[in-house]
Each structure stands twice: as C-alpha cells, then as structure tokens.
C-alpha cells in the first residue's frame, strides 16, 4: 500500500515535470526534432535537468543497502547492444517523430488531450500487446523482462 502511494506520487511529479518542460506539447517536440527547420532546442534543457537531478540523486540512493519499501535495487540489465535494441529504437523514433508523443507525455495528456491522444494511447497499448503476443509465439518458454 505504501509502495503504491509512493509510486503514485512519483508518477505525479514526473507528469508535472513533463508538462512544465514542454514535453506534452507535440508541436514543441516536433520542433525539437526539426533540425533542418526552425529548431527549438528548449527540450534539451528538460533532458539536462532530468539527467543532472536523477544522475546525482541516484548516486546517493544506491549507496543504501536497499530501497525504503522494497527488497533490493534492480540488477543492471544486460549491456548488450543488438538488433532488437536498435530496431526497436528506430520504430519508436518514427512513431515519436510522426506524432510528437512518447509514452510518458501521451499518458499525461490522455485524460485531457482529446480524441486523438486517446486513439494514440489505445494504439500504443495495442502495439505493446502485439509485441507481447509476438514474443510469446516466438519463444514460448522464455519471458520478457519489462524495463
């Protein structure tokens, strides 16, 4: 119960940061990706603020023996760079550039952003489901590690 409350609070903070930073404005995101046009670099500052804050606090947090409400910190995931990683990033990048929405801002916008955002989020969940089904069909005995 406590863990869910803290996760909810973390999600709320994350959402306020995304909104304040401008990530929930698709035109701004597309402007950031539009290097050949009127490039809008402001979203690089969101990245800088987030990386600086998380990078610093993370160093302090992982010095603890364990998280406050959980048994352990996540084990470092595999360091492997493979076709799946790159191929997935390419597909995600195309969808991101097309719409200006990555998963976080889309979920933040979902309750207030109108029909297009809802359709996007629905399609995103279907895409995740399709991946899951594809994986189960390909390798019935191994399970994926959501990260």
């Amino acid at each position: 119960m406590k863990a869910a409350v803290m996760a909810g609070l973390a999600g709320l903070l994350f959402a306020l940061g995304l909104g304040m930073g401008g990530m929930t404005d698709p035109a701004k995101v597309v402007g950031f990706l539009d290097i050949a046009g009127a490039w809008d670099p402001s979203l690089a500052f969101v990245m800088a603020g987030a990386l600086g804050t998380y990078g610093l606090l993370r160093q302090l947090i992982v010095r603890r023996a364990k998280p406050v409400l959980a048994k352990d910190f996540p084990a470092p995931p595999s360091a492997m760079v493979d076709g799946r990683l790159v191929g997935g990033a390419v597909l995600f990048g195309i969808g991101w550039g097309l719409s200006g929405y990555c998963p976080g801002p889309a979920l933040v916008s979902a309750p207030v952003g109108g029909a297009t955002v809802l359709l996007f989020v629905g399609a995103m969940l279907v895409g995740m489901g399709v991946f899951r089904a594809w994986e189960v069909l390909r390798a019935p005995r191994t399970s994926s590690q959501p990260g």
């Binding site: 863990a3 973390a10 539009d34 804050t53 997935g88 990033a89 995600f92 969808g95 279907v126 990260g147």
Partner: protein, 141 residues
C-alpha cells in the same frame, strides 16, 4: 531566459519523480516498461505500476487546471497516421526495451552504453521522420 528555465525546472521535477521511485520502490522510471507490465495480468507488482500510471494521469488533470498551455494540439489528427504512430511507439519501445524515460533519462544517467545507443537511435529516427514529413512531404495530417 524563461524559455529555457522552465524546461530545466521541468527536467529537475521529472528527475525528482524518477529518484523517488528508485528510493522508495527500487524501480526504474521507464514509462513504456511500467505500462507494458500492466498488460500482463496477475502480476504481483500491478499495484505500484497502476499507481504510477495513475499518478501520470492525475498530473495531466492538475496541469490542465493550473497550466493549460502545457498541452498543445496534436500535430497529426488523421486516424490512420495516429494509429500508425501509436502502434510504432508501443511495439518499438517494447522491442527496444525502453523509451525516452527508461533509456533517455534513467539509462543515460547510469552511464549505460546500451541506453546511449538506443537514445541516439530514436532521436535520429525521430529527426529523420520529421525531416521527411515536414520538408520532403510538406506535412502529414
């Protein structure tokens, strides 16, 4: 000034949210992974995932009340383009094991080479897509 200060502060807040999740729950704030985990039923950790995604949605409602200019209109509104973009984002983030938050913030902050490759790749693919849709095709609706 304000044009850069606000994004910087937004980033700090976002980083604080990710830090909170790590400190209390011992979890990485990768939005695509957290969300996808909800699609697999009967998991012991459904509650915190649902609470985190719920927190994102509540954040959207709060923002709409106090700072409605946070939300611009969509850049695409056609059903086909919207569906295609959503499917690509959903499938792609799972295939690549992360999105802007998991790879772009948490992974990079940890110094993971894998996340650096993923982030550079999805940024390049996004920039190329914007270049093609805006400057070659003259816009996609």
């Amino acid at each position: 000034m304000n044009a850069f200060l606000l994004p910087l502060l937004g980033g700090v807040l976002l980083g604080a949210g990710a830090s909170l999740l790590l400190l209390f729950n011992g979890r990485i704030a990768g939005i695509s992974g957290i969300t996808a985990g909800l699609l697999t039923p009967a998991k012991a950790d459904t509650a915190w995932r649902a609470a985190f995604v719920g927190g994102l949605a509540v954040g959207g409602v709060v923002l709409a009340l106090v700072r409605p200019e946070s939300f611009g209109p969509p850049v695409i509104s056609g059903m086909g383009a919207t569906l295609a973009a959503g499917l690509l984002v959903g499938f792609g983030t799972r295939l690549g094991s992360g999105c802007t938050s998991g790879h772009g913030v948490c992974g990079l902050a940890r110094g993971a080479r894998r996340s650096l490759v993923a982030t550079l790749t999805f940024m390049a693919a996004g920039a190329l897509t914007v270049f093609v849709t805006r400057h070659v095709l003259g816009g996609v609706s």
